[in-house]
Each structure stands twice: as structure tokens, then as C-alpha cells.
């Protein structure tokens, strides 16, 4: 792997540079705090590498433009925050239905509605999963450091291209604006969408004929080549023609879900810290994973066996990993800057029904390690001497 440079910079910069390293050459977006730096950097950097940046009239148009650009063959992305993600849900469905790769960066802030515009939150987890209407699978990754902003953005593009699906990168205000050193490096083994076999005759092309392929992902040529095809956000057949047949609809909707869930082993990324002997497991993600790591360090200093399971993939949910982490533990704690969106998922894979405790904060401030320790102390670790601030 070629290292280009080490920089001390904010997560939003690492995301923009990661997108470029992944081969992104088109950005359309609408400015919104705390994601705007990504647009600013994209507007400066894309023309330098032969790409195109455009600021659209709203987020509905922004995601539409990146979907269009992707269908024309460019790796494309947009960046926004919760209010913009709400507006993007409509056309996110088009990307799902037409199986068009694109990456949506969500630098999460406090909600609902305009909320606390400059304050962090992690309240878009369920919106990412179920925000657009209808059943479908979705991929969402959550960085918890500036380096992960870079690396997971590259991953987001790779997954997007590989599975012909929209992918969310779910950062948050803390991670987006936090500065840390990160290594800009060559993205090894970049993935680009599969192309039709050159022997395949030109002309009308069935762009949704996934069943012809072992991996159930149909190749996706760009507009303007030898293949002529139809993208369609309405229910369609293999060739993209509107189709109301119930067996056809059943086949496609299950396909949208299955192509993600059946590849979960490839997509799910987690990291375990001190899990070998952990009595207490902290399951967390994004900026709250940093709080969990600090809580673990402080508890271990006092001899308490606390471990951390950090989720880098939020969707598809790391069900097996969570189940395994909870298998030997006495209790699990889920710190998150929302009122329990991931904790409810964790509870679904809690086979032994151990206590799952949420440490939640929605006031726009990070969860401190002391709050996590207080939760443990209040219930189990009576001897812990550490006090919250």
C-alpha cells in the first residue's frame, strides 16, 4: 500500500479525500452544517482530477444528480446531515430500485427537524435503515476516527460498486470536525461495478437480470456505450420495463434485501477490544465508541473486566458478532447519542437475556466515559471508585 501523506485534519476532509482515492468523480450536494466542509473540499479537488462538482437547489435534486451521474458511469457521492437525509429518502429509493451505486455521507447532528444545528448526535441510525418506504437492504458504515473516515469512505464506494446499492457513511459532528492525524494512502483493490462480458452483443440490455449471475449482481454498463438500457424507479422487469406482476415484484423486493443480507459476512466490520475475558461488554459506534474505549481503559485500571465491541458496520446489523460478544458477558452497555436505536438491535441478539443497558445522551454533548462507568457502577461494579464529573 502506497502512503502518500500524513495529515492532521478533520474527519470531513478525510471523507472527501477518501472519496477521491476511491475514484469518485462526481459530487452533487446542498450545504448543511456539519457536513459543508466535504462540499467545499469536493468543489476544490474534483476539478483537479477531472471530476465535476455541482451545488444543487436542494437535497432531493442532489441525490437525483448523483444517481444520474452514476448511471452515466461516474462514481458519485453527496454529503449532508439529518435534515438533508430526510429529503433524500425519496430518491434513495430510486437508487435501491434501480440498483445504482452511490454514496451518501451523513454527518449526523441533533434532531428532529432543524434541531441543534452545530451539535452532534447519532439519531439517524434507524432512518438509514428504514427511512425510504418499502422493504430493501441497505449498507451503513460508521467511522469513529479520522483515519476511519478515510478508510471507510473507500469501503463505502467499494461496497456500493460491488453490490450495486446506495451506501451510507454515518459520521457525526464530533468525528466530522475532530482533527487527528490520518494517512492518505493508495486504496488497494478498488472495486468498480461489474461490466457485461465483452462477448455480449450490444443493443438492448437487461440491466436488472441478476438471476443470470452466480452472485446475483447484474453488470452495469454506463449510458453511451454499446448497450442500451432502461433504469426504472418503478417496479420493473429484468429489462427495466414497468411490470405489475406479483411474482416479479416479489422476486425483486426480496432481491433488494437478500443481496445485502446474504453478503453480510463480507460487509460487516467490527473490532473487539479486551473481549477475551470481558464480564461487561460495551457495544458502541462512531464518536460514542471513543467514550466506550476510555471507559474500558479506566475500568481496567481498577481491575474490572470490561471489553468493547466497536461496530463499524451498522447495516446490515452485526447480529452474529453481537450475539458472540454477549455470550459470556454478565451485562452489556450500549452508549449512543440517541435514545436507544442500536441498543434495541443489540437486544434482539441477546440469547441469554443478560441485561442490556443504554447510556444515552441527546443534549448535543458527547457521552463521557464517566457516564458509562456510572451505569456499570450503579448496577454491578459497586467498588468502582471513579466518579462522574
Amino acid at each position: 500500500m502506497n502512503t502518500w501523506e500524513i495529515r492532521f485534519a478533520m474527519g470531513n476532509e478525510a471523507i472527501a479525500e477518501g472519496a477521491l482515492a476511491a475514484g469518485a468523480r462526481f459530487y452533487a450536494g446542498y450545504p448543511i452544517t456539519p457536513s459543508s466542509e466535504i462540499a467545499e473540499i469536493a468543489s476544490r479537488r474534483l476539478p483537479q482530477v477531472g471530476g465535476v462538482f455541482i451545488q444543487m437547489e436542494d437535497e432531493i435534486a442532489s441525490i437525483a444528480a448523483i444517481i444520474g451521474a452514476s448511471a452515466a458511469g461516474k462514481k458519485s457521492f453527496t454529503a449532508t446531515s439529518g435534515p438533508g437525509v430526510s429529503l433524500m429518502q425519496e430518491n434513495l429509493g430510486v437508487a435501491v430500485m434501480s440498483e445504482i451505486p452511490c454514496v451518501i455521507i451523513d454527518v449526523q447532528r441533533s434532531g428532529p427537524s432543524t434541531g441543534l444545528a452545530t451539535k452532534p448526535a447519532q439519531g439517524d441510525v434507524m432512518q438509514a435503515r428504514w427511512g425510504t418506504h418499502g422493504d430493501h437492504g441497505i449498507i451503513a458504515l460508521a467511522p469513529s476516527s479520522v483515519q476511519e473516515c478515510y478508510d471507510l469512505t473507500i469501503k463505502a464506494f467499494d461496497f456500493s460498486e460491488k453490490y450495486r446499492t446506495p451506501v451510507y457513511l454515518m459520521a457525526d459532528e464530533v468525528i466530522g470536525h475532530m482533527r487527528e492525524p490520518y494517512v492518505l494512502h493508495e486504496a488497494a483493490g478498488l472495486v468498480s461495478r461489474k461490466q457485461p462480458d465483452p462477448s455480449e452483443p450490444g443493443g438492448d440490455y437487461k440491466i436488472f437480470d441478476f438471476e443470470r449471475y452466480d452472485d446475483h449482481i447484474a453488470p452495469m454498463p454506463p449510458y453511451g456505450g454499446k448497450y442500451i438500457f432502461r433504469m426504472n424507479g418503478s417496479m420493473h422487469d429484468e429489462a427495466g420495463f414497468g411490470c405489475g406482476a406479483s411474482d416479479n415484484a416479489d422476486k425483486f423486493i426480496r432481491h433488494y434485501e437478500d443481496k445485502i443480507t446474504k453478503n453480510r459476512d463480507d460487509i460487516v466490520m467490527t473490532e473487539s477490544y479486551n473481549m477475551e475475558d470481558a464480564d461487561y461488554v460495551l457495544v458502541s459506534f462512531g464518536c460514542s465508541a471513543r467514550s466506550a474505549m476510555a471507559a474500558m481503559r479506566l475500568a481496567r485500571q481498577e481491575g474490572e473486566k470490561v471489553g468493547v465491541l466497536k461496530l463499524m458496520t451498522l447495516w446490515p446489523f452485526p447480529d452474529k458478532e453481537v450475539a458472540a460478544a454477549l455470550k459470556k458477558a454478565k451485562a452489556a452497555v450500549v452508549p449512543e447519542m440517541n435514545l436507544g436505536q442500536v441498543a434495541s438491535e443489540v437486544s434482539r441478539y441477546n440469547e441469554r437475556k443478560i441485561p442490556v443497558i443504554g447510556v444515552n445522551r441527546v443534549d448535543g454533548s458527547m457521552i463521557t466515559p464517566y457516564q458509562i462507568l456510572d451505569a456499570l457502577k450503579g448496577l454491578y461494579l459497586k467498588g468502582l471508585s471513579l466518579k462522574g464529573l
Binding site: I6, H177, R290
Partner: protein, 179 residues
């Protein structure tokens, strides 16, 4: 040498607190290959409201990115000073700009210096933040002065006069604190 530092730069918007934190973090991580994290808090207005940047320096992995147990607090303005003056611990070095701040009793180790005067004397009246960085560098030795100078050189690349003034401001801070 101490391995981990938790530092707060505080003041009001427009005083260059983000730049001080950024230069320090970059000097430690990019030049010295140690770890650094910086987070910021600021009001919705660009200028005039309370602003701070938290910088954590370490030889190893930094988990929580905000300062929980400050080793050093730098305050360039009265509203920032007032926030910290009575909540700090005795171990904390409380460095303030005596041109803006009226000293009050504090449990912390207080050091007040006329940073604005020093900046003006160095020929860079706007570089109060860089004077503060020089003082901090000399008093804590949390970073090599040459690393900061290297980052200043990179930051003000192509603006030779501004660079010269900022280097002087940094050296003024270093020297005054070294006395």
C-alpha cells in the same frame, strides 16, 4: 517526560484558537509522529462568542477526544477565564492573557502574561494566539519548538512577511516564559 497532555485553548471567536490547537496537534502528530486529537466548541456566530479548542497529545492511542482532566488551560479573554477560574484543579497550569483578563483567586497554578503587548512588540499584533503557543511550549515542553516552527512555515507558505511575524511572536512567547 510526561507522555500525555490535555490542553484547552479558550477565548472568543476570531482570536485564532483553532489555529493554535491545529498547529500544536499537527506539530506533534505530523512532525513528531506521536498522537494528537483536537476538538472545538464554538458559538453559531463566527466572532465574539466563547470558543475553545481541546488538544490531547499522547505517545499512545487517544480514546476520548475531549479534555476531561486539563493539564493546561490557556485563556485569552475574560469570558473564557471566568469559565475556568474556580473549577480547575491545583495541578492545572492556567495561562492567561493579562491584557484582557483581570486575575481572580483560583486553585490552579496561574501565570498571567501581557500576550497582546508581546505580540505587538514582535511586530505581529494579531498573533496573540501564537505568543500563547510559545509560552505553552516553553513552560510544558509538550512539543519541540522546532516542530511548531516547521508547522508555522508550512501554514504560512508563500506569505513570507506573515510567517516572519508569526515566528517572532512564537519566539517572544518562548523567551518570555523561559525567563
Amino acid at each position: 517526560m510526561k507522555q500525555r497532555w490535555e490542553i484547552i485553548f479558550s477565548g472568543v471567536g476570531g482570536q485564532g484558537l483553532l489555529l493554535s490547537g491545529n498547529l500544536l496537534g499537527a506539530a506533534v502528530s505530523v512532525i513528531e509522529k506521536r498522537q494528537a486529537v483536537m476538538t472545538c466548541t464554538y458559538g453559531t456566530e463566527t466572532r465574539g462568542t466563547f470558543t475553545k479548542s481541546d488538544v490531547i497529545l499522547s505517545d499512545g492511542y487517544i480514546d476520548f477526544p475531549e479534555v476531561l482532566d486539563a493539564d493546561v488551560v490557556v485563556s485569552l479573554a475574560q469570558i473564557a477565564y471566568d469559565r475556568y477560574v474556580d473549577v480547575l484543579k491545583p495541578k492545572t497550569l492556567f495561562l492567561y492573557n493579562s491584557n484582557q483578563v483581570k486575575e481572580a483567586p483560583s486553585p490552579a497554578r496561574q501565570v498571567g502574561l501581557p500576550m497582546e503587548e508581546m505580540a505587538a512588540q514582535a511586530g505581529a499584533p494579531a498573533a496573540v494566539n501564537i505568543v500563547a503557543l510559545g509560552i505553552l511550549t516553553a513552560l510544558t515542553k509538550c512539543v519541540q519548538p522546532t516542530s511548531i516552527q516547521e508547522m508555522l512555515t508550512r501554514h504560512f507558505k508563500g506569505r513570507q512577511d506573515v510567517l516572519g511575524a508569526n515566528i517572532k511572536a512564537f519566539e517572544a512567547g518562548l523567551e518570555e516564559a523561559g525567563k
